[in-house]
Amino acid sequence: MQGQFWIIQTLNSVAFGGLLFLLSSGFSLIFGLMRIPNLAHGAFFMLGAYLGYSLLIRGMNFWVAAVVGGLAVGLLGVLIERFIIYPNGRILRAIGRFLDAAIFRPLHVISFDAFWRGLISRFRGLVGNEQGQVLLTLGISFIVADLCLLIWTGDPMTLPAPEALRRPLFVAGYAFPTYRLVVLGIALVAAVGLYLLMERTRLGAMIRAGVDDREMARGCGIPVSRLFTTVFLLGATLAGIGGVLGGPILNAYPGLDTDMLPLALIVVILGGAGSLLGAFVGSFVVGFLYNFGIALVPDLAYFVLFLPMVLVLVFLPQGLFGRVQL
């Protein structure tokens, strides 16, 4: 029985670590490149879980639901990035002209175009004010979380795991929960995929250049602002997929966002911002500490997380593998 306890808890920890990796790798890349801690990341994760639930109860295949849910969250992320955090003047002006011509000019109400231009310049005034942008992401996370509460109500919802993976795997007399093993496998595949993307492709090289020195990269002709959108899409999609995959383990409930966000922050503080390896190591460290903390000393589970964070902050303020200053 004792052995079974450790196996279950270890598997829970690594599966949770895998979910954390899906969440925090994107967070870390966004922070590394854009220098903005995207505080809406926890809300993206929760939205993914809820979307996954709605897709699953409509009979969609689990893996398809994970991809669709992830992409939907990714799309939302891109919209937020393109329209609110780093507003793209060209697209917005085109929208303004279209609305003006289609609705407002025929009605002769107001000069919508002038209003819209003023609005855009207001939004663009925020570029460079990184503190403001962080607080924007916080505001967005509240809105997303509250809309989730409005749509899916306050009851916790359990996402059904895929039929084939519900039964535990028996090896040498011990039961291994299959689904958690699969989640771990997916996280590892995602880690390898992200590693290859970052180290072996042109896009990855551009992102790395942007993380190391944004201005220099821009000077070399790398379209940094398009990279922002790409990385935001990637990060938000990963968070959304993580939410769907995490649904059967964690359930979807109001407050999931604020439960997960600090964990992602601690992962990045531990591992170092902008580093994939840091996010990977940090995720599993936090996954183990959090899970065993809850299992062994439930009262102090959060305090257990606090200690490694303190140690890292005191001795290695850049994190274990940090590429950029926190």
Binding site: I36, E130, A145, L265, I269, D299, V314
Partner: protein, 328 residues
């Protein structure tokens, strides 16, 4: 101090003293006390935000540390004064540790660390069932009787809060004009130059953090006295964000801004909550709108507008006097 500001201060003080007579009904007087408590929170966070340029998302942690300490001590049988003093001291010491850790990272890392620590405090309050009662929260036995005065009813509690608030306000006003306050603004605007001039930037920021923690803890004790109850919901991220929003919305660079912000947010929250449950959406929306349209807050924004109007009027009279001179 200019005469105009003395007069406006006197008017504001008279108005605050007269509040219970102007607005009848315990409900509104209680709301006024609530505004004062939140104003104190907002003023304390504004020490960091407005003067020091440090954005903290963990301010509700003091509510947890000071609040639970006070409740636990009083429940354990200590007298009220001892409990309050120990709670504030303990929470201020915690602010020292909190500050040392958060200041390891300048800029945006600071936001992340404060948020993480704030959530850890929340998590401990939520999980540590034996100590804090977990999700059910803890109730506070009774309000104290400072110097034998009974502050159980709404009106006298309002005055109690007002006195504490006035002391805090006087202190913060003095602070904003002190050499230390000036050097703090210096670390915000020109940290490198301040370092070159021989100031210890880190120490200045840490002291500010601790000071903000101290006033945050005082406000927390008032919060516990007011609600006679504390649960982990009061230390959630929303609470920290609300306090921060009050300072930003009102105007972080001014002393009156956070008070105005606290009044507006508290009133909106109380009014809206009676009609709809969508307070968090509104909170998020106010956040987004305030940051995009009023990055400097309402009070400086209104001052700017006032100045602009006056300039325009002046220009207009000038135009009348010398119509040949072009005004651009």
């Amino acid at each position: 101090m200019k005469r105009a500001s003395i007069i406006s201060l006197a008017i504001a003080a008279a108005a605050l003293v007269a509040v219970p007579w102007i607005i009848g009904g315990d409900f509104y007087i209680n709301m006024a006390s609530q505004v004062l408590i939140y104003a104190l929170f907002a003023l304390s966070i504004n020490l960091m935000l407005g003067y020091g340029g440090m954005v903290s998302l963990g301010h509700a942690a003091y509510l947890g540390v000071a609040g639970y300490t006070c409740i636990l001590l009083v429940t354990a049988g200590y007298n009220q004064l001892t409990a309050a003093v120990i709670a504030v001291l303990f929470s201020t010491a915690f602010a020292g540790v909190f500050g040392v850790l958060s200041l390891r990272a300048p800029g945006l890392g600071f936001i992340m660390i404060t948020l993480a620590i704030g959530q850890i405090v929340w998590g401990i309050a939520y999980r540590a069932n034996d100590l804090t009662g977990g999700d059910n929260g803890m109730s506070f036995p009774a309000r104290p009787m400072p110097f034998g005065f009974d502050i159980r009813d709404a009106k006298s509690f309002y005055y109690f809060t007002l006195i504490v608030f006035a002391i805090a306000f006087f202190f913060l006003w003095r602070f904003s004009r002190s050499p230390f306050g000036a050097s703090l603004v210096g670390t915000k605007d020109q940290p490198r130059r301040m370092r070159m001039l021989g100031h210890n930037v880190w120490l200045i920021q840490l002291l500010t953090f601790v000071l903000a923690g101290f006033w945050g803890s005082v406000a927390s004790i008032l919060y516990v006295y007011y609600n006679l109850f504390l649960s982990p919901h009061a230390l959630a991220l929303q609470q920290s964000a609300e306090i921060l929003l009050m300072a930003i919305l009102g105007g972080a660079t001014s002393l009156t801004g956070p008070i105005v912000g606290a009044a507006i947010i508290t009133l909106i929250k109380n009014v809206i909550s009676t009609y709809v449950e969508r307070w968090n959406t509104l909170l998020g929306a106010i956040f987004v709108i305030a940051i995009i349209f009023m990055p400097y807050g309402l009070v400086p924004g209104c001052k700017q507008l006032w100045g602009w109007l006056q300039n325009r009027r002046k220009n207009r009279t000038l135009q009348h006097d010398a119509p040949s001179e072009p005004t651009a």
